[in-house]
């Protein structure tokens, strides 16, 4: 019988106890692998989304002046919440950016939110209404399925059109926003959109009309497209130069997609590592369980150890015999845990719509960890067995 056959024989002989012992490792490996794989899935998802929507986008949002003097005196009493900052970006800024004709700055689009309901007759849609300049559609990779995105009327997301008009064409029909009628001039093809955006459930008015219907003067944000992702830093400089003319107090902020992506990925990584670390503690507990049971096994088998040593087994032979038992136990636990994790990751990934699955990395890490746990926590019991004097071992009956 080779070493692992002996180890397997012993594990199988006490299968209930072995299973309960391995359970600690099963749960530990399950937790670590599942969290790592899901974290990896989220990261992949976010990366894909950003890759689809162009890493060349730059967003300009209003902010407090970056100078130390608060000469605008928002709020008056020092407690200024960010949401109470009125927009400082104007339609003129959008035009200025659009007419810069600088090669790195491809296009600029103003965006506002219209806090009104979209209705058709007595039917009310849950659509989220935005006012956007035409370049917005190109930047967000949104294409018209019917009509055009550059018309003078409203553009409906695919789900909105479906809600209000069913299978019939919406083009040329009239909908109402804030009591005012708008002609539907475009219906978008179904699209995923950037993270946090839901183009299928949105409706888009031309920016100027949106400002009028909602009674707003300024735009909520300006989206810029750099010619390429590599030119983003240059485009930021150009935009800064243009905006600085009308905003000497620098009361705006420029955020690039790359920055958002980096922030999201870093955050996800930190959270994943943190959770995996906590899950790792359960693996540690599993290891201690193995050590405990192996110590019991060794004292139960003093007689067997004595016989083997009397028959010429060296300390190393005994050490390897017990060490391979604890390693095998941990690896079996690791494999079962990984299998369950594969199942769980698949189900959870499907449920929340991220491309999660077992990653090769996670599986290899889990196996290395199980072997490590089995070896580290098996050493003490195995050494105890190996160092027994045959006389002492045989005395115990």
């Amino acid at each position: 019988m080779n070493t692992f056959a002996i180890a397997w024989d012993s594990i199988w002989h006490h299968r209930t106890r072995s299973f309960l012992t391995a359970l600690g490792v099963i749960i530990g490996v399950f937790a670590v692998v599942t969290l790592t794989s899901l974290g990896h899935g989220v990261k992949t998802y976010v990366n894909q989304k950003f890759a689809n929507i162009g890493a060349n986008l730059i967003t300009v949002v209003p902010s407090l002046p970056s100078t130390h003097s608060s000469k605008h005196g928002f709020g008056g009493h020092g407690t200024v919440s960010f949401t109470s900052v009125p927009s400082t970006l104007t339609l003129a800024n959008v035009r200025a950016l659009n007419h810069s004709h600088h090669p790195v700055l491809q296009a600029a689009a103003g965006v506002i939110t219209v806090p009104d309901l979209l209705t058709r007759g007595s039917t009310t849609s849950t659509a989220f209404i935005m006012g956007v300049s035409t370049p917005y559609f190109g930047m967000q990779n949104l294409k018209a399925a019917h009509g055009t995105v550059s018309g003078s009327g409203i553009v409906l997301g695919s789900a909105v059109s479906q809600d209000l008009f069913g299978k019939r064409s919406a083009i040329g029909q009239t909908v109402t926003v804030g009591g005012k009628p708008f002609l539907v001039t475009g219906v978008l093809a179904s699209a995923q959109g950037a993270p946090g955006f839901h183009p299928n459930d949105s409706a888009y008015l031309p920016l100027q009309k949106a400002l009028t219907v909602s009674g707003q003067k300024d735009v909520s944000e300006i989206i810029l497209a750099a010619s390429t992702a590599q030119n983003v830093p240059k485009a930021v400089t150009v935009a800064n130069n243009i905006l600085a003319k009308s905003h000497p107090s620098h009361n705006y902020k420029i955020v690039t997609s790359q920055e958002i992506l980096t922030t999201v990925t870093t955050t996800t990584s930190v959270i994943t590592d943190f959770l995996a670390g906590i899950a790792g503690i359960s693996l540690l507990v599993g290891g201690i369980g193995i050590m405990n049971i192996m110590l019991v096994t060794v004292s139960e088998r003093f007689r067997e150890i004595g016989i083997r040593k009397a028959l010429g087994a060296r300390d190393g032979d005994i050490l390897i015999q017990f060490l391979s038992e604890s390693v095998l136990l941990a690896v079996i636990g690791g494999l079962i845990g990984t299998a369950f994790s594969g199942l769980a990751t698949h189900i959870v990934g499907k449920a929340i719509g991220i491309p999660a699955g077992l990653t090769l990395d996670a599986v290899i890490t889990a196996l290395i960890f199980s072997v490590g746990v089995g070896a580290v926590f098996g050493v003490l019991p195995a050494m105890r067995a190996a160092r027994l004097m045959p006389a002492d071992a045989l005395r115990t009956e």
Partner: protein, 251 residues
Amino acid sequence: MAVERIEDAPQIELKDIARSYGEGEATVHALRGVSLTIRAGEMVALMGPSGSGKSSLMNILGLFDRATSGTYTLNGQDMTRLNSRQQALMRGRKIAFVFQGIHLLPRLNALSNVELPMQYARIPSARRREAALRALQLLGVEPLQKRYPSQMSGGQAQRVAIARAIAPDPDVLLADEPTGALDRKSGELVLGAFQALHDQTGVTVIIVTHDPFVAQHAERIISLEDGQIVDDQLVANRLMVSQPLSSGGHA
């Protein structure tokens, strides 16, 4: 197997062997200076009541334990100087054991049990198998080779255990109360097996026992009491079991 051995050559030499356990007031002196010589090819009984130190002596002879002081020479080699790895190399190869209460490994069949010491000696599997089968045949238990210890009678199991001891062709066969767990009939058959092995192979046999009847089957009886040798003489009316070696295995 060769019967010729140089009868005069001392195979085992003990000089002033002492073994004590514990420290200070609580010290127990199990052996208090034992000196003896056993020549190659002898069949010796080591006798004494419980607490006489015979088990301690056997543990030292078998390299299961180390003497507190004194020297132990086997085939001219000082055993007390060997480290634990070197001692392990001697066990099962030069000195083989038959234990009280059988001590076959319950989860291995007869053949695997007999092969085990040779496996630990790193003997290639073909030679191992051959030697194991020869030993089982010699003891008349070859037909039981696929059986597990739980499927054998006590006498059969002890014969398998003897086969396991002699398969690596050791110089010394050490038996601790080998009939202790057996009824009288099986016990006699096992003693007959030792005698026949001794006659046929010339192996040195040392039987540790408290039972004068068992001791009478040896050529020489060394008596221990209170950790010292009190008597050492040849057996006048040696009992011989006239069973052929390979019979009685199926009792």
